[in-house]
């Protein structure tokens, strides 16, 4: 067998198959986002965030964590009497996928003195109806846990 050609570094160390699929996918994703428009997407996400912030703020026993004026379309929150993991499992059963726990930011959780948070994220593919499902699911969790949601007063 003849020796394989040995290029100079750094090519010498670039063994294996390059991430061709990744590059093609990235190009497709950029085309997709460009066709819709970054600003359109941003506006949609901010509308969802504003609506969700208002809706969750109206649920007794729900505390929103992180209220910076300029933030991405994610909503961290706590539900009184329900650990974020228990909440995550119940919401999952209602068809709502959220992330729970430290979010790889344990020092921040320690700073706030909390065990973790529940966190919903909004993106281009979400709509206002998704927020309604989220709100209903949180109320169901409160009902299941027998916390405040069962005896809250009607708005007014």
């Amino acid at each position: 067998m003849k020796a394989a050609p040995s290029p100079l570094p750094p090519q010498r160390f670039e063994a294996g198959t390059p991430n061709i699929a990744g590059a093609i996918t990235l190009a497709a994703a950029i085309d997709y986002v460009s066709a819709i428009g970054i600003e359109t997407i941003g506006a949609h996400e901010q509308a969802l965030l504003a609506r969700a912030t208002r809706a969750l703020g109206e649920i007794p026993g729900v505390r929103i964590v992180g209220t910076a004026r300029h933030k991405a379309a994610i909503l961290s929150f706590l539900v009184e009497g329900i650990h974020p993991h228990d909440l995550g499992t119940i919401l999952d059963e209602e068809g709502v996928a959220i992330r729970t726990g430290h979010h790889c930011a344990m020092p921040l959780m320690t700073r706030y003195g909390i065990a973790g948070t529940a966190r919903a994220s909004f993106a281009l593919y979400n709509d206002f109806a998704d927020i309604d499902v989220l709100v209903d699911a949180i109320r169901k969790a409160q009902k299941l846990f027998g916390t405040r949601g069962t005896h809250d007063t009607p708005p007014g």
């Binding site: 709502v96 994220s121 499902v133």
Partner: protein
């Protein structure tokens, strides 16, 4: 963010949720038993799942090869707290050897299909069997038991189940 499953599947999952969150679980979560420090413990160990934040210390008094007393402190979700609380109730007064066997059987209860489970009567621990349907939550229920196992065997490391 949302999925719309067909009604039958949704009902089945809601039954699983009810099976997971039984009243006994809520009761032990609200008022955990043996939830205190034990200054005169002969054995103790810490358990911590850093990704999810569940953290507890298990304390034991072991004499004459018997678990004379068991308690725990810490914070966690309802499943972890209830599991720890039930565990301290169940192991009190049992021979260490039997407690170790129970640790292994309980672990199998949560991690093997219902059809393959042993004939053992798990008594009040049975309420945790529903965790099997929620693979992501098995680590919550087993953390106290792994911590117990370390306490008995004097393992130097913090127990982890994630």
């Amino acid at each position: 963010m949302t999925h719309h499953r067909d009604d039958q599947a949704t009902d089945a999952r809601h039954d699983a949720l009810r099976e997971l969150y039984q009243e006994v679980i809520f009761d032990h979560n609200r008022s955990p038993r043996n939830f205190h420090l034990m200054p005169d413990a002969t054995h103790q160990a810490e358990g911590y799942n850093p990704l999810c934040g569940d953290q507890l210390t298990v304390y034991l008094q072991i004499a004459d090869e018997l678990v004379q007393a068991a308690s725990f402190m810490g914070q966690g979700c309802a499943i972890c707290t209830a599991s720890a609380s039930l565990m301290t109730e169940v192991i009190k007064g049992k021979p260490v050897e039997e407690v170790e066997a129970l640790f292994h059987d309980f672990h199998a209860l949560l991690t093997t299909p219902a059809t393959e489970r042993s004939a053992r009567d798990f008594g009040k621990l049975e309420v945790l069997a529903g965790v099997r349907e929620f693979p992501a939550r098995v680590k919550c229920a087993t953390l106290p038991w792994h911590t117990l196992h370390n306490a008995i065997n004097g393992g130097p490391d913090t127990a982890r189940t994630e």
